[in-house]
Symmetry: C2
Subunit: 217 residues, 2 copies
């Protein structure tokens, strides 16, 4: 596939196009940094937006869940879907209320999802999910049984119609406001961890593994 | 309004209903803790999901943006909308890959948005936006001019059809897996700040204010 994703009328960035992009490397870096997406789909004209985990393998994005999930059953019918991934990097504090903003990186992917039926592919996708959220975890846990694979629906969305939107850097104030006696700048935000909390039924003598202790996004 | 939001067929939680709720206090606490929502709407059958800030005043949720925004212009037509707010509180690490999960709090609101045209109400909403994201900021910055108010579209969504979904606590493993020699538990996640970055054009002698220094969510 080409490095640049072709822009369509639906993904064209109408406002502030300099904040956007169609470069696969940029889009994939955002998808790999985050681990929650918001999936949008419409049923009888009513849109729904549901948060869920995801994984990327090559040029495909995967979501999964219980085979009983209404969202997955609807998406498996091949309806139009929008998957949005958002990372908030900072609060942009301007001198005027009007120019307050946020620094962020987001990706929007449009398309139709396909149900993954092959057990081997499903197994590989579940590995990718686990490793995407907690690298190093898969090797230590019990892998899915045939029954668990059957109880899990996996959907695949090809990353062919997508765009990124990014804001970085300083606030942009009106020229006359720069003289104001107001602090302006960026307050960086990031996802941090607190001390791991052991399961109340954890057996004695099992220590916290490095993939948890050193977890960082 | 009653404390309990009446559940509709569209907001009824089909799976794991014990994780859900319709209590206004719970829903409002989640809305007040977070500050980014994902707005879902459909145009010509294609769903779109766009991240944006929001504020809550009483039983209404407000979003805003440039009057030129395609999303706001579409929503102002009175089409069906879904606003979803998600907080990720921790990674739930089970002994089996299958039972891995996340601790989270989310709210889904359905309805149709109305354009706020009254300048006084718009001004109040912009104050609520600023104070929702950075409490203490509004009093220190330049307030919106009449022109800026005109360039800003504000939409109001009544919180009448909504539900919360919450997961907390330990992983739930299959009984036979509790004997495994695998660490299990929760890795708590939270939004943290790094050192404020002063605007490159900040005048000498302006110090970082307390509402930035002591920022906490």
């Amino acid at each position: 596939m080409s490095k640049e994703i072709s822009r369509t009328e639906r993904t064209r960035l109408r406002r502030l196009p300099d904040r956007g992009g169609y470069d696969r490397d940029i889009i994939y870096a955002i998808l790999d940094d985050a681990f929650i997406c918001h999936v949008g789909f419409a049923v009888d004209g009513q849109p729904y937006v549901i948060p869920t985990g995801y994984a990327r393998i090559g040029d495909d994005l995967y979501i999964h869940g219980s085979s009983a999930s209404r969202m997955l059953r609807n998406l498996a019918k091949g309806i139009d879907v929008c998957v949005t991934v958002t990372l908030i990097d900072g609060l942009v504090l301007a001198r005027s209320a009007f120019h307050h903003s946020m620094n962020y990186r987001s990706v929007v992917i449009l398309g139709k999802a396909d149900l993954v039926e092959d057990a081997k592919e499903k197994h590989a996708v579940l590995e990718a999910f686990t490793e995407h959220v907690v690298p190093g975890r898969w090797a230590e846990v019990r892998w899915p049984t045939e029954l668990e694979l059957k109880a899990t629906s996996v959907l695949k969305l090809s990353i062919t119609e997508a765009s990124a939107k990014i804001r970085t850097g300083d606030p942009k104030d009106d020229e006359e406001d720069y003289a104001m006696n107001v602090w302006a700048g960026v307050l960086p935000l990031r996802l941090a961890t607190d001390e791991p909390i052991a399961d109340s039924r954890l057996a004695d003598g099992i220590t916290v593994p490095n993939h948890v202790l050193n977890y960082k996004r």
